[in-house]
């Protein structure tokens, strides 16, 4: 739609839509055909005014010259006018480029702008360009959360794709399905699975001719990341891992051959997995062991791989006798998995639902929680229900300990659980009792909305201690750790 005189046929030149940015400019716009010469034939805004060119009447060069002369004339006029008005500043800007907003406006991520049609259109265009299907939202949402996506598990993204997909690697398709159906759950598990799949992607990747691996690979990863994001919104741990990987890829020296570069990338990913996740878990387990005293009663919530590992290791060391109270909540009922794992190791466990916590808390000596992410103001983002446990524990004066690896630390700041969250399938709340599906017909009822939140944010003053692989820190020191880490890198 842009006039690129070198490429358009001479036949109906003026009938084509005029160039954008109508300020009589000659700024270079890249043509959609992807030709790599942005500085060449300037798009003009003279549009239909040139009525004097019958097909083949004048050559292209002459037309161009005429147009340029006209533009110069117009510009001279405008300049003269501006000088008259005494605007010295404008004279310094001979190119009347469309002004960018002078202030740096932080762009909101798309996933919290679902109710903004412009943002959604942009997303749709981007996905179309990457050839990734757009997942449709499902069901009426609660007003307060209408800015978030809500998907149905019964409509996976793969139904809209052709199999085999030409753009998305099959391992990624499988991973996406595992995420969206809830087969892979938990922030560490998702991140590990993601990095393994990326390793396979890199193995199967081959640089096309005339391309740089460091640039092309990043571009090839983008549609896969968009696909996974459509299947299930990326977690903070996955986001950090992807950032790390992109940085590693773009920092690859050009002198490496393709095979060496791919080896190097695989090694870096392995190192990241080993150091940031596996070794960190061991370090945290050791630090947390110091906080477990003899005859302790420890309360845990949901299923956190780190907390489970800490408790199993502490039990194996046989130095301290302790028992565990596992708190669970609908609809995920992840506590059952924790219960299974702990009981198998021989740890004495009690199982309660979250409504019973004020009943059990008087006998609890400490609360051990996992985290999905730690935000820059010290807030803890974790499974929904965590902040409730922290609040009631504070009221009973029970210390709350959070275990979190440093790779989950985010630069984001959040003070509430509304701004950025994840809405799970509302149909999960439908429960079968005595053969009847309670809430089964919720979609037909106009005044009924179901809300299945996944995360919530616990303010830092409810948390007493954060155990990380760098040691034990108070919640308010998270930005210090982020600063130290960025200095290291």
């Amino acid at each position: 739609m842009l006039r690129d005189a070198g490429l358009t046929p001479p036949a109906p030149p003026e009938a084509e839509p005029r160039a954008e940015g109508g300020l009589g400019t000659d700024f270079p716009l890249p043509s959609p055909a992807g030709a790599a010469h942005p500085a060449s034939p300037p798009a003009s805004a003279d549009g239909p005014s040139d009525g004097e060119k019958p097909a083949g009447g004048k050559s292209k060069a002459e037309l161009r010259a005429e147009r340029r002369a006209k533009q110069e004339a117009e510009r001279a006029q405008k300049q003269a006018k501006k000088v008259e008005l005494g605007q010295a500043a404008a004279a310094a800007k001979p190119r009347l480029t469309p002004t960018e907003p002078q202030s740096v406006v932080k762009r909101l991520p798309e996933h919290v702008q679902v109710d903004d049609p412009a943002a959604q259109r942009k997303l749709a265009k981007k996905l179309e360009r990457q050839q990734v299907p757009l997942r449709q939202d499902y069901g009426t949402k609660v007003n307060l959360f209408s800015h978030l996506h809500q998907y149905s598990r019964k409509k996976p993204l793969t139904q809209q794709m052709s199999i085999p997909s030409t753009v998305i690697h099959p391992a990624v398709v499988r991973l996406g399905l595992q995420y969206s159906q809830g087969i892979i759950n938990g922030s560490n598990a998702r991140c590990i699975a993601l990095l393994e799949v990326f390793k396979q992607l890199i193995r199967d990747y081959s640089t096309p001719p005339n391309e740089e691996l460091s640039r092309d690979l990043v571009a090839k990863l983008k549609p896969h990341i968009s696909f996974l994001n459509q299947c299930r919104p990326l977690s903070a741990s996955m986001g950090n891992a992807i950032k790390f990987l992109k940085k590693e890829i773009s920092c690859l020296p050009d002198t490496l051959r393709e095979e060496e570069a791919k080896e190097k990338l695989q090694d870096t990913i392995d190192k990241y997995l080993r150091e940031k996740i596996l070794l960190a878990a061991e370090a945290i387990s050791r630090s947390a062991f110091e906080k477990i005293n003899d005859n302790d009663v420890i309360l845990v919530y949901g299923c956190s791989s780190l907390v489970n590992r800490t408790l199993c290791d502490a039990h194996a060391k046989k130095g301290r006798a302790f028992r565990v109270i596992v708190v669970d909540s609908r609809p995920r009922l992840e506590g059952r998995e924790t219960l299974r794992r702990l009981v198998r190791k021989g740890i004495h466990c009690t199982y309660v639902m979250i409504n019973a916590i004020s009943y059990v808390l008087p006998e609890v000596s400490k609360v051990l929680l996992g985290a999905h992410a730690l935000l820059a103001n010290g807030s803890v983002m974790s499974r929904v229900g965590t902040s409730q446990i922290a609040l009631v524990s504070k009221a009973y004066n029970v210390p709350v300990l959070v275990c979190c690896e440093t790779y989950k630390f985010c630069e984001r700041v959040q003070t509430d659980s509304f701004v950025s969250n994840e809405l799970d399938d509302p149909d999960d709340l439908i429960v079968l009792r005595k053969g009847q599906a309670q809430l089964g017909g919720w979609a037909e009822n106009k005044s009924l909305r179901l809300l299945n939140l996944v995360y919530d944010v616990t303010p830092p003053d409810l948390v007493d201690l954060v155990i990380t692989d760098l040691g034990m820190i108070p919640c308010t020191s998270v930005p210090v750790v982020l600063r130290v880490k960025s200095v290291d890198q």
Partner: protein, 299 residues
């Protein structure tokens, strides 16, 4: 043991010196006399020396001071392959550390005394040499104020403090430990020292400090703590139970007693939410900034 003798002698001769400073001086002397040949050997013998010293005086400050001394001198030891050169450098750094540490009280006094306004009524607890220094500085800047001191059983340390304050011509009243809740409405601010500052920003101090802090919070009075930076220790107690026994009871009690539950602890832990500000030679810190400083010191 030689070091213990030097240590005890120092404490006897100069009662004004902090026990941690005396410990560091003793350690420096020990370092100078050490006959070992390897860095590792030196490190392990220094650790043993710190251990023996803390058996003499089981305060938090001695162990934290010792650990910081060790870290400070070993920061550059890895650069030179010649052991004697390393040792020289370590001794030099040890002297620097000692000098810095001896000056810390003066720095703290300078930072803290502006917070004492003319006509203020101050509440303090037990005997703290840093608080004494701060009040001295306030007197020197021509401020008039009065002080309430708790008696601080079981060793009546408050009486010692009162005597020292009377020598400075400050009007002082000794109150019962149990009278803190009664007197709190009359005071303008609470100023205490600390035996140790923990990672969360809380403090470990003579028993009774926690009660004063809770009363102060309930009546919205500022609670200020003055402590030198060598008292920062890498502990993170969650509650009173979590403080290690070796700090709670005197070294002899730990050795001789049958049942610790019958002994009275000498210190308690005050949580950071009750503390308004900490005055240290690193500056005026909020409790959450203590962790930043510790990360800088230790990482």
């Amino acid at each position: 043991d030689d070091d213990q003798q030097t240590f005890r002698a120092q404490l006897r001769d100069d009662p004004d010196v902090a026990s941690a400073v005396a410990a560091i001086r003793a350690l420096l002397g020990f370092l100078k006399q050490d006959r070992g040949e390897t860095i590792q050997g030196l490190r392990s013998s220094l650790l043993a020396a710190i251990d023996t010293l803390s058996r003499v005086d089981s305060s938090v400050a001695v162990s934290s001071g010792g650990e910081l001394f060790l870290r400070f001198i070993s920061l550059t030891s890895l650069e030179y392959s010649d052991y004697s050169k390393c040792k020289e450098i370590m001794i030099e750094r040890g002297e620097i550390f000692l000098r810095k540490v001896s000056l810390s009280r003066i720095k703290i006094a300078k930072l803290c005394h502006p917070f004492i306004r003319d006509g203020a009524r101050i509440l303090t607890h037990a005997y703290s040499r840093v608080v004494l220094r701060v009040l001295e500085a306030a007197v020197e800047s021509k401020k008039r104020f009065s002080v309430y001191v708790t008696e601080s059983q079981p060793d009546q340390a408050g009486q010692k403090m009162a005597k020292a304050l009377r020598k400075l011509n400050i009007p002082v009243t000794v109150i019962l430990d149990a009278a803190v809740g009664y007197i709190m409405e009359k005071v303008d601010l609470v100023l205490v020292g600390a035996e140790g500052v923990v990672e969360s920003g809380g403090i470990i101090n003579k028993i009774g400090t926690n009660q004063i802090a809770v009363c102060a919070k309930a009546q919205n009075k500022p609670f200020y703590v003055v402590a030198e930076s060598f008292k920062f220790v890498r502990l993170f107690p969650l509650n009173q139970q979590d403080v290690p026994d070796k700090f709670k009871y005197k070294a002899d009690t730990l050795k001789t007693s049958q049942n610790l539950t019958e002994e009275h602890p000498w210190i308690d832990y005050t949580s950071p939410s009750l503390i308004t500000l900490l005055f240290t030679d690193l500056g005026v810190l909020t409790p959450s900034a203590v962790s930043d400083e510790l990360i800088k010191l230790y990482l």
